[in-house]
Amino acid sequence: MSFRLSLFAGVACAALGASVASAQSLVYCSEGSPEGFDPALYTAGTTFDASSHPIYNRLTEFKVGTTEVLPGLAESWTVSEDGKTVTFNLRKGVKFHSNANFTPTRDFNADDVIFSFDRQGNPDNPYNEVSGGTWEYFAGMSMPELVSSIEKVDDYTVKFNLTRPEAPFIANMAMDFASIVSKEYADAMMEAGTPEMLNQAPIGTGPFAFQAYQKDAVIRYLRNDAYWGDAAKVQSLIFAITPDASVRYQKVQAGECHVMAYPNPADVQAMKDAEDVVVMEQEGLNVGYLAYNTKVAPYDNPKVRKALNMAIDKQAIIDVVFQGSGQIAKNPIPPTMWSYNEAVEDDAYDPEAAKKMLADEGVSDLNLKIWAMPVQRPYNPNARRMAELMQEDFSKIGVNVEIVSYEWGEYLDRSKAEDRDGAVLLGWTGDNGDPDNFLAVLLGCDGVGASNRAQWCNEEFDEAINAAKVLPTQAERTPLYEKAQVIFKEQAPWATIAHSVVYMTMRPEVDGYVVHPLGGHIFNQVGLSQ
């Protein structure tokens, strides 16, 4: 049986009889195809939009529009005094979806939680290698080292034993890879010899149930009427996969879609002026930066780095590269994130002062390589152009810039080298709304030779972020992160360039859409007014 046929057979829900979607269908013009529907297997935001947000829940959930963590499938949780045991009290009466091949016989319980994580970390779990599982996010968030065991206390209580106290753990549980799948469904599919159905015809507890996917064309969902939380406001949700941004906009205007993501920056002004569409905007949870190699002279001197930072005309970059859809970054974390230090002052754009500073440090005839990424990213829509602008800026202070680039995989790999020649343009998009996810990953001593592209290891900074990581409350952690941002600014391992602004374009009848700072497109509480 072909994939299409088997998929269709697998998901032919009861609602198939009503084969024409109702008027209460929300159509989202999405930018690409999901890789699959089991979020733990993948890392792309497009995949999460289509899988974890509509179909699944997690133990904890991000409040849409914020990075605040709320109870999800866990009604509450307690953290032991030493911070190494987290106990989740699970919600009762939560129903899983059903499809043509599966009808759940029991409610969600502790077995599902344990299975959802065990399959990712335990090589002996029969699902560990199903669908070529590589569990990138699970590994990327250091879960194998962090979680020593998961215990079922009773049907509705689960205990996570950690190897060290880790404050961001609760937020990690709200991430897409931590979506809870049905163990009963997994067992049934394994028995039927079709374990990959867990990924292709997903069953979750979320506000929408998966109905069908036609590859690269359409994904359909139906409202989960047995949802434990606030029910979805539309009867069905449809993703019309539309890779071209101009075409997405045409579809919104023609009424073929209600909402679209990722408009062309050049079109945003025209969209704002148009009467028949609404444009929403919010700063993205990301940062684009230029990382010097602080292990190589003269960039091991903070004053040299500071002087270079002062020579960059960031406003010009925002205008030209981001075409206005960005804002100047002064800190390594975005302004929407808690503990963002407003008091930090950015280096003023002052080429004359920069030139003098370099001279004072005895630096002249400096040659600098700037690495420009070959790909487009939200935090840097055109790295080549950005590098050219910097080249011009640096030439004004007598620094000669050569722009280099590599194929993306090579770029990522080579830029990690501790003896790298040159400064690297790169960036980061947050995973869990926790400052640790930026500061420790990108600037911590452990990341040198890996994700810390500045190869920067500052004892005082590292102490602050490591101390903050094990404190239980945001109030206690905030001053430490604020201090870390001050040290960062003084030491200037990067030139912080920009945070992108995320735009969403929609028709006026769309009601209740909230732009989510973590980047997901979530339609659980979006309705259509008549």
Partner: protein
């Protein structure tokens, strides 16, 4: 005729092996490692890298990998996509009908308009019709696809609202698609208006994709016709008093068709390989975009398997064209 077909089929074998090798090597010659590309900014530790390399079999010598791949191909197993974790075979056949449907429509559009245009131009050589048709063909041939598609969308979908912007059918229609051909499945669904909706969705992509082949066919038909019209047997036919319609339509066109069929065959090959721009703009779920995405992601199994399947399709088309020569010109099949 049988010998002719068999001799053509025999050429399949070395071509197939060659394509298998080239498609396997091609993606590996590109710089960039699939595991590092997959990990992105997040990066991957050396231990994890080694683990994943072993899991995907990339830690073994290339010749071993090739041998395993070839063994798999001969058994009908093209491997599993590195990204979607689904068999390449399933992915290809989920998408290929969309590409085939659009290609067939674009080819019909190009032939139905291109052949008469070429004949009319040839018969009216040097006159207004000839100049007008050939200038239009030149413009069509030079048109950037991307611009042409967006222009049509803005005019016909945006301003006039005659056609839908993109997709294969109105989203209100939802039915099983056992064949993958929307025109057939929409009729089979029995849903009122579904077929018409599918046709309306096909219009613009067909025009966009068919424009270049249309221009090529028109120009090729014209020059082939002009050559034939100067032959002695045409003069003889004229002197016998045959009507111009009969001369042009039967005596001349049939002989002019050989080079035209070659061009049609080559165009079909190109169309089947996936019309990446047309598919992207019209959100058409075909194999062109699938292949390009896979190259960017260094999805080795999809690129090598997809290339192989496309090559086989093109080989089949070429074989068909070769056999058509035989049908049109008996001298060829007797050679």
């Amino acid at each position: 005729m049988l010998n002719y077909v068999l001799s053509r089929l025999l050429t399949f074998v070395p071509t197939f092996i060659g394509v298998t090798l080239i498609s396997f090597m091609f993606i590996r010659l590109l710089p960039g490692d699939p595991i590092i590309v997959m990990a992105g900014e997040r990066g991957v530790s050396p231990e994890r890298y080694a683990e994943l390399s072993a899991q995907f079999g990339y830690d073994r010598p290339v010749y071993v990998q090739f041998f395993e791949y070839l063994t798999g191909v001969l058994q009908g197993d093209l491997g599993t996509s590195f990204v979607t974790k689904r068999p390449v075979w399933d992915e290809f056949f989920a998408l290929f009908p969309a590409t085939l449907e659009l290609s067939i429509c674009a080819m019909i559009f190009a032939v139905v308009l291109g052949l008469p245009a070429g004949v009319i131009a040839a018969v009216n050589r040097g006159k207004f019709f000839d100049r007008a048709l050939m200038s239009t063909a030149l413009v069509g041939y030079s048109m950037p696809i991307f611009w042409w598609a967006l222009l049509l969308i803005i005019v016909f979908s945006g301003n006039l609202q005659w056609t839908p912007v993109s997709g294969r059918i109105d989203l209100l229609y939802y039915f099983p698609d056992p064949t993958g051909f929307m025109l057939i499945d929409s009729i089979a669904s029995g849903q009122k208006g579904a077929f018409l909706s599918a046709v309306r969705h096909l219009l613009l992509p067909t025009i966009v994709l068919g424009t270049i082949p249309l221009a090529v066919i028109a120009r090729q038909t014209r020059s082939a016709m002009l050559e034939v019209l100067g032959e002695d047997y045409i003069r003889t036919a004229r002197s016998k008093g045959l009507s111009p319609g009969r001369i042009n339509g039967i005596h001349a066109l049939r002989n002019a068709l050989i080079p035209v069929i070659t061009v049609i065959g080559l165009s079909v090959g190109t169309l089947l390989a996936g019309a990446i721009l047309t598919e992207t703009i019209f959100s058409w779920p075909g194999i062109g975009k699938w292949m390009v995405d896979s190259i960017f992601r260094r999805d080795y199994p999809v690129v090598q398997g997809g290339l192989l399947l496309i090559a086989v399709m093109v080989m089949i088309v070429n074989l068909t064209v070769d056999m058509l020569y035989g049908v049109i010109n008996p001298k060829i099949r007797k050679r």
